[in-house]
């Protein structure tokens, strides 16, 4: 859209000058059109910003315990780390930046005070800046998407990459909701992302039930990453140290004018029922009897 605009301007410019019937105008025209062309060539490729969402969740290797009062999962004294899908998202953003197609990667996290640790990990992996929206309490995907929209209006990124779902709630909704609120195209469950800067579009291979689907999205777009997209890099010691000095901007939901009150309420959380031991039956009659009277399936 911007490029089209620029071309239109140039054309109108070229038509406008001669009407002034100045002798020097043709010369001016060529020079200015050259300059415009020059500027055009330099500016677009480097300017795109990528925004990546990262979430602080319970580490995937930890054995989960339900709190005795069934109100939630035990999170005290439990190891937390970055959501694995968010790591993949960040890795993809960093690769796009290193390929020269983006100028900046901004990592965003929405959560309590300790989420800053996850953000620092993201910065250590290579993100340039961090944004921390400090919000306590359980946040449901719609609230997160709304906060994201507010941040997008401030930051104006060209691409948003999120993990397909968070491993603590497995909602798989935030990415899609962000795209819906912004009115942007979305490529979810991405297993391959190819950005085309010139055409301002991105080709995404999606892992769907039937196989792989390739979609072409106009930028700006929302992508959510699936497992096979890439292998995230390790944060090295020197990078961890450098990450301490990278800037992190803090917001609160009030500052962004977003209400985080949810229409959903978690009533109870229980462990799945323990698997009962299998029973060996000795005859077909016994099997039928059990199926009819115990399992009630026939």
């Amino acid at each position: 859209f911007d490029q089209e605009k620029k071309i239109k301007n140039r054309e109108s410019f070229s038509f406008w000058i001669p009407s002034q019937s100045n002798v020097c105008c043709p010369f001016k025209l060529t020079l200015s059109s050259l300059i415009v062309a020059r500027v055009e060539h330099l500016s677009p490729p480097a300017k795109m910003k990528i925004m990546v969402a990262v979430k602080r969740v319970i580490d995937y290797a930890v054995k989960i315990r339900v709190k005795p009062d069934k109100s939630g999962v035990e999170t005290q004294n439990v190891k937390m780390s970055m959501n694995p899908f968010c790591e993949i998202a960040l890795e993809e953003a960093l690769r796009i930046k290193e390929a020269g197609l983006a100028s900046e990667v901004v990592a965003v996290t929405i959560g309590p005070k300790q989420s800053i640790d996850t953000l620092r990990t993201g910065l250590a992996m290579g993100a340039d800046r961090g944004i921390h929206v400090e919000a306590t309490g359980d946040l449901f995907p719609l609230a997160v998407a709304k906060l994201f929209k507010a941040l997008v209006e401030i930051e104006k990124p060209g691409l948003i990459i999120l993990g397909k779902q968070a491993i603590d709630n497995d909602c798989n909704q935030t990415g899609q909701m962000v795209a819906g609120l912004l009115g942007w195209p979305q490529g979810t469950f991405a297993s391959k992302v190819v950005l085309d800067k010139e055409k301002q579009e991105v080709m995404v291979d999606r892992e769907v039930d039937g196989g792989l689907e390739t979609v072409c999205l106009n930028l700006p777009a929302v992508i959510t990453t699936d497992l096979r997209l890439n292998q995230p890099r390790y944060a090295t010691l020197p990078n961890i140290m450098k990450a301490k000095s990278k800037p992190v901007k803090k917001y609160t939901p009030e500052e962004l004018n977003v209400g985080t009150k949810s229409d959903l309420e978690v009533v109870e959380i229980t462990e799945p029922p323990k698997r009962k031991a299998g029973v060996l039956v000795s005859s077909v009659d016994e099997l039928i009897d059990k199926l009819r009277n115990e399992a009630h399936v026939i």
């Binding site: 290797a61 960093l94 290193e98 010691l237 140290m241």
Partner: protein, 718 residues
């Protein structure tokens, strides 16, 4: 006397943007232009490149930031090992791949964020604050977070913590449950006999050491210590003289077959380098190449049977230095249960002897009531047991069925499981803890008080003790400006050397006034050997004068007494405790090393262990799941066999594969191949990092090396 040298500005740690740009200039064209494309500023030009296979090939930056520009232009990776002039070369302790590592410099590098390591770090920062100096301290920890690999009983004696952080109560340390009762039982199969408790736990607390260490970690960070969990120290770096200059972290992203994966990351070299006194940068730069350093410090606080510590002990013959015996060990297996409110008595402490272990096997169990309805229960089995069919894990499961213990655990759930070896050698086995370039502190040296079964407070104290002297030496190095003052310093120091620590502190204060320009040239030549000599002796001397030594000395005879059997052991212990009260004239020696103590299989018969019932006792995979253990699957096995044929040729036929029984994580399994032959399969992913295999393998064939950082158990309440 070639040594490494480095200057840094006092206020910044590691590679600062300004110094990095300086290094970049020095290195000249060695940095690949395509790499700098992705990063704009000079500081990033030293950053390790990403491993994207689609982009520039994976390559680490030349680690020659220390070595100046002598070979800058030719500083390709493979040529980096030779450096010109009078500078030392960082030689690998265990030579490895040609690729150099990036290096980061600190004044003190501590391996292991446990009680000893963190105490040392905090004490150092406290001393820095007192004296007005600034030293950079870095702690590397192989666990995914601080406290992830910490497991201990634990009844905590706050003596060392009172000295380190006297305000621990106000600062909400996780120490809240004081010992309310102290019971000592002798168990037989069906009964429990109460015996008089030999312990005095009156002012002690029942804690979770993992939580305490996590708290200490946050305190250390408040003091400015840099803690890096998830980085495993795998190599010791030495210079030409053979003194240790630092450690190198593990390469990450190596596939099972040894090839580099997409996200390969070369390890980083962490060098303990003494800092120059802050002055103006120009002088620093000038001296960067010329000045040799004194007082580099690397501390090893890896815990019992630390992999690097063992290498150091062997290399510098630290046991021979003081005629110490070999270390003896025990394997502790522990579970934390959440039990019924009615059965929970916070602060109740129970120790048992006897069943399920027989008379020839030393060991016992513990049951401590912690806070929040949690109970820690565990079994400790000495690893010099003779029967190769013994399985400490199964014995522990048996223990839980005992009629005195079962009622406590009934209706409870297991929260976590873990295992770790611990030292039982006491004072007879402590090696000389200082070596050129650093020291070994904590359980890596072995300060556990066996009869008290407490090692945390002695470990912390050993860490604290060392740092006083590190600081003294480092400060002296800083202070010498002009030769006159340096010789004065030397004389003063020599005078004070024989006196105790306190006076050394005072002498530091008087010398501080001498600091002027950071002309280190004169200092180093004079101080070199002097400092090294005094460094070694003074730590050893003060350690021997401290309460740690006193305590261990009193406790030295209890454990070796049991080598003669259970009854003699109890008798001698009683005599020691009630009659001599630790002042006995003799010192008993340990018997055979643990691995030699195993008898051959044919002199014993297999033990039939009961099947787990899923309520009180469990099978190994279920327990393992509770330890939150995980390693990246696609990495080389970190348990290396020195002779790959030995398991099938010696371990299996002669000892019937004891490793499949003593390993609490079922790492070792003998599985039949297609030909029907049994072959050893190593499930390295299960490893709990307990080091039992490194200790107990009969021919010492198994070598425990450190896997990729961030793996291993994830203890949070252990």
């Amino acid at each position: 006397m070639n040594r490494l040298v480095s200057f840094r500005s006092k206020s910044r740690i590691g590679t600062t943007p300004c110094s990095s740009s300086f290094y970049a200039r020095l290195l000249g064209s060695s940095i690949d232009a395509s790499r700098t494309r992705s990063t704009a500023n000079a500081s990033d030009s030293l950053a390790t490149v990403s491993r994207c296979s689609s982009l520039v090939p994976a390559r680490t930056l030349t680690g020659s930031s220390l070595f100046g520009s002598r070979n800058g232009s030719s500083a390709r990776l493979s040529n980096l090992t030779g450096h010109g002039g009078s500078q030392g070369v960082a030689r690998r302790f265990c030579s490895d791949a040609a690729a150099e590592r990036e290096s980061m410099e600190y004044d003190v590098v501590i391996v292991g964020a446990g009680p000893a390591g963190l105490s040392a770090a905090i004490r150092l920062k406290q001393l820095c604050g007192e004296k007005g100096v600034d030293l950079s301290v870095c702690v590397v920890e192989k666990g995914a977070e601080v406290g992830a690999h910490i497991i201990s009983g634990n009844v905590f004696e706050p003596r060392a913590l009172d000295e380190l952080l006297p305000e621990w109560e106000k600062e909400e340390a996780p120490i809240s449950v004081s010992v309310s009762s102290d019971k000592f039982w002798f168990l037989t199969k069906d009964r429990a006999f109460s015996l008089p408790s030999p312990f005095d736990n009156k002012n002690n607390y029942v804690i979770s050491l993992s939580q305490l260490v996590r708290w200490m970690g946050s305190k250390a960070e408040e003091y400015g210590v840099e803690i890096y969990p998830g980085f495993a120290a795998s190599e010791i770096l030495c210079d030409d003289n053979g003194s240790v200059i630092g450690i190198g972290t593990n390469d990450m992203g190596v596939a099972k077959n040894g090839s580099k994966k997409e996200n390969f990351q070369r390890g980083v070299a962490l060098k303990g380098v003494s800092l120059a006194f802050s002055g103006n940068k120009m002088i620093q730069c000038c001296f960067m190449r010329a000045i040799k350093l004194a007082g580099r410090v690397t501390l090893f606080a890896e815990g019992c049977r630390g992999s690097l510590s063992e290498k150091i002990i062997k290399k510098y013959h630290l046991r021979e230095k003081r005629n110490a015996q070999h270390q003896t060990y025990a394997l502790g297996i522990k579970e934390v249960w959440e039990i019924d409110e009615s059965k929970h008595q916070p602060g109740a402490v129970i120790h048992t002897l006897g069943w399920p272990l027989d008379q020839k096997t030393y060991g016992g169990s513990f049951l401590y009531h912690m806070s929040e309805r949690q109970v820690a229960i565990g079994l400790v089995v000495a690893l010099n047991y003779k029967n190769p069919y013994l399985s400490p894990y199964e014995e522990f499961q048996k223990l839980k069925h005992h009629p005195a213990i079962k009622p406590i655990l009934e209706d409870g759930t297991v929260i976590q499981y873990g295992a770790r070896t611990l030292n039982e050698g006491g004072i007879q086995s402590v090696p000389y803890p200082v070596f050129p370039g650093g020291a070994i502190i904590g359980c890596s040296a072995g300060f556990l008080n066996v009869p008290k079964i407490k090692g945390t407070h002695t470990a912390m104290k050993s860490g604290m003790r060392y740092l006083l002297h590190v600081l003294a030496i480092t400060v002296f190095v800083l202070l010498s400006g002009i030769p006159a003052s340096s010789s004065f310093c030397i004389n003063e120091y020599k005078k004070k050397e024989s006196q105790n620590v306190r006076s050394k502190e005072l002498s530091i204060k008087s010398f501080l006034c001498f600091c002027n320009c950071p002309g280190m040239l004169a200092a180093e030549a004079a101080f070199g050997t002097l400092l090294e000599g005094s460094n070694l002796d003074s730590y050893w001397t003060t350690l021997q004068n401290s309460w740690v030594w006193e305590e261990l000395h009193k406790a030295r005879n209890y454990r070796p007494a049991f080598d003669h059997g259970f009854i003699p052991g109890m008798a001698i212990s009683a005599v020691e405790h009630y009659l001599f009260r630790g002042k006995s004239p003799f010192t008993l020696k340990h018997g055979k090393p643990d691995h030699e103590a195993t008898n051959v299989a044919r002199s014993h018969s297999p033990i039939e262990y009961p099947k787990p019932d899923g309520v009180l006792s469990f099978d190994v995979p279920t327990s393992l799941h509770r330890s939150n253990t995980n390693h990246d699957h696609d990495q080389p096995a970190h348990l290396k066999l020195r002779d790959p044929e030995m398991p099938t040729q010696v371990n299996l036929p002669e000892y019937d594969g004891p490793e499949s029984r003593y390993c609490p994580a079922r790492v070792y399994e003998y599985v039949p191949e297609e030909s029907g032959q049994l072959k050893l399969q190593i499930n390295a992913q299960n490893c709990l990092h307990c080091k039992a295999c490194d200790i107990k393998d009969p021919k010492q064939n198994i070598e425990w090396t450190v896997p990729e950082g961030g793996g291993g158990p994830g203890y949070s309440v252990m």
